[in-house]
Symmetry: C2
Subunit: 365 residues, 2 copies
């Protein structure tokens, strides 16, 4: 349990951050997110740099104003997106040259540029440009990427520190360091320890959940989290399903983000206390119970599984909205429960009870 | 100005009915519709009969429960849909044989079947099966369709009256008659007068806005409305744009429905007091004013044109929602204004002032 103070408010941890890559959490309004209890949203500097572009967001007075969300925002630099989406990318020590995946325009971004971009976004928590690798990845390639990530982290920190006094935005931004190193414990250890020496406000685990087997992932998360200082936020990027979240929190992770609730929501799959439920399935066509009888979100207090199935079946956008809304609420409620049981020192009991219900599965109905 | 009492509440007229064909007004929640002041929604018996099917809706206890809307609902029979969507349709005096446009299953529906379907939907206002024709349409073909529409209206009324006492639903349903006759005044007159003799609770103008020139449409609407009794609701089906609504109300129309607000909304076009505005256009990329500075909807009180443009430009569902929401609110607010100026006998002044601002156009910015 912890607290992270930012220019737009305090975040209670452990926390889950709904993902709003392009300045919107897909299908949901800021009002719905606030009502669901979201404390902080994640957005993406690479995507916003390409569209709508920094001129627009600067004119809006920053991302909070632009998207009408006045609570904390964490922006990822886009290291992962550049390596997975951009075309013709050339990574040099100086920075990354790439072609936009949208319109093919050429760009060159240095770590310092991503600091400037995120200054203009006025994000509360800033992530430096890092180099991501795929899984599997040879040790020497992973080592090269890790070392470049460290150099870029150092440059980002120095540039960030020099520029904080010039910020016209809401207040002090926070910079995290990102631990890379693929699935190699030696590389992860080297990276984490050097980032700790640079003394960031928080530390993220990057390059996780890129196709590695679950057990390997759990081991790396545990390994790295144990090295990182306990008194600073530890942020596991891009994770995950409820079972992954619980494992991560048990290992000491304080912050997580994942597209899972909204992506699965758009595909008609709900996360419930009784497990995953694919509401599109014909078995639910005459089921007039709510998605999750333990849930108090708008979807569960108003609509039946049968109606949601009908919406998903007929391609109706309201269906995408309602399942996404429920899922986000479910993930946020899971974190609230986790905060409570950590405080009461009842995490292990909670974990047992949660999985007792969740693993039965709701899909088999 | 008038009032129509239904089993789920009183409707103040003139009124506009947002269209929820498949049991949902596209992209919008019932809560948003209620907050926008929608009094009554329109849904479609043909579509609901095909999906999710009457078993589901009966089990739900009717359409109001199914879609979580406890205010009035008017259901169209689907005469228009059967003639425009269904495949291999054969129209006989007995009824219509057709193949579903969804899965090719064959069906035969008589006017009595549509009464049964709408009884199971528990709609407040029921529309009989009618025969629609295209534009242009030869006089003798239009006459044949009009006469069949009258026969079916008679059968519907008799069957409806016999069955009202057996309704297990919320209370008394209301049946309207539909005036057909294409663009031929003689046919429209015959049809209207015979329906009046059958003594329906309200009268609809069907087969309007099917491609005929605007002036011809305006003339037919005026012509028919003048024949219909003033003390019963006169419902112009499938109309229209704000200018069409104003013309219709001026002619005496009490109820209208149209997909325009939500369809245009999904295409990024907003209706504002200053005219139509296609927010996707690049000219709005740095416009931080609201869609309509006179509007108090959630969209206009929270988001800028620049942000909405970004959402529409990036295919984000929130953009479709927000523009649709504004449009529905705009149409409903237009009706509220119309009700007020009719009450104060200031309709013509209002009309002049409205078009003075609206015709300047907002797109040319």
């Amino acid at each position: 349990m912890g607290e992270l103070s930012t220019a737009h408010g305090v975040i209670q941890t452990p926390c889950f951050m709904p993902v709003g890559t392009q300045g919107t959490v897909k299908t949901l309004s800021p009002l719905e997110l606030e009502q669901s209890g979201a404390q902080v949203l994640l957005s993406n500097a690479y995507h916003l740099f390409l569209r709508p572009g920094m001129d627009v967001i600067k004119q809006a007075g920053g991302l909070h104003n632009f998207m009408h969300w006045q609570k904390p925002i964490l922006t990822d630099s886009g290291g992962y997106q550049i390596f997975s989406l951009a075309l013709l990318r050339k990574i040099r020590d100086e920075g990354v040259e790439f072609q936009s995946h949208i319109d093919g325009t050429r760009h060159f971004l240095r770590p310092e540029d991503l600091i400037d971009i995120q200054r203009d976004l006025d994000s509360d928590i800033v992530m430096p440009l890092d180099e991501c690798v795929h899984y599997p990845c040879a040790h020497d390639h992973a080592e090269q990427a890790m070392e470049r990530t460290l150099e870029w982290a150092q440059r980002s920190k120095e540039y960030f520190a020099r520029n904080q006094s010039h910020i016209a935005g809401s207040g002090q931004q926070i910079l995290f360091g990102i631990v890379q190193g693929a699935t190699y414990e030696d590389l992860r250890e080297t990276c984490a320890k050097q980032l700790i020496e640079m003394d960031f406000t928080g530390y993220a685990l990057g390059g996780i959940s890129v196709g590695e087997p679950r057990t390997l992932r759990y081991n790396i998360v545990k390994f790295v989290t144990e090295i990182l200082p306990q008194n600073k936020p530890r942020y596991l990027m891009g994770v995950g399903l409820p079972e992954d979240i619980i494992q991560a929190v048990e290992s000491g992770v304080d912050m997580l983000d994942c597209v899972v609730p909204t992506r699965y929501g758009r595909n008609g799959t709900a996360f419930t206390s009784a497990g995953k439920l694919t509401v599109r399935n014909s078995g639910f066509s005459q089921d007039f119970t709510p998605l999750d009888k333990e849930c108090r979100c708008y979807t569960c207090t108003s609509f039946s599984r049968a109606y949601l199935r009908h919406l998903c079946n007929t391609g109706e956008i309201l269906g995408l909205r309602l399942v996404s809304l429920h899922n986000v609420h479910f993930f946020l409620e899971l974190m609230r429960q986790i905060q409570r049981v950590i405080k009461d020192d009842k995490f292990l009991e909670f974990k047992k009870e949660f999985f007792g219900k969740y693993n039965n599965g709701a899909d088999s109905r």
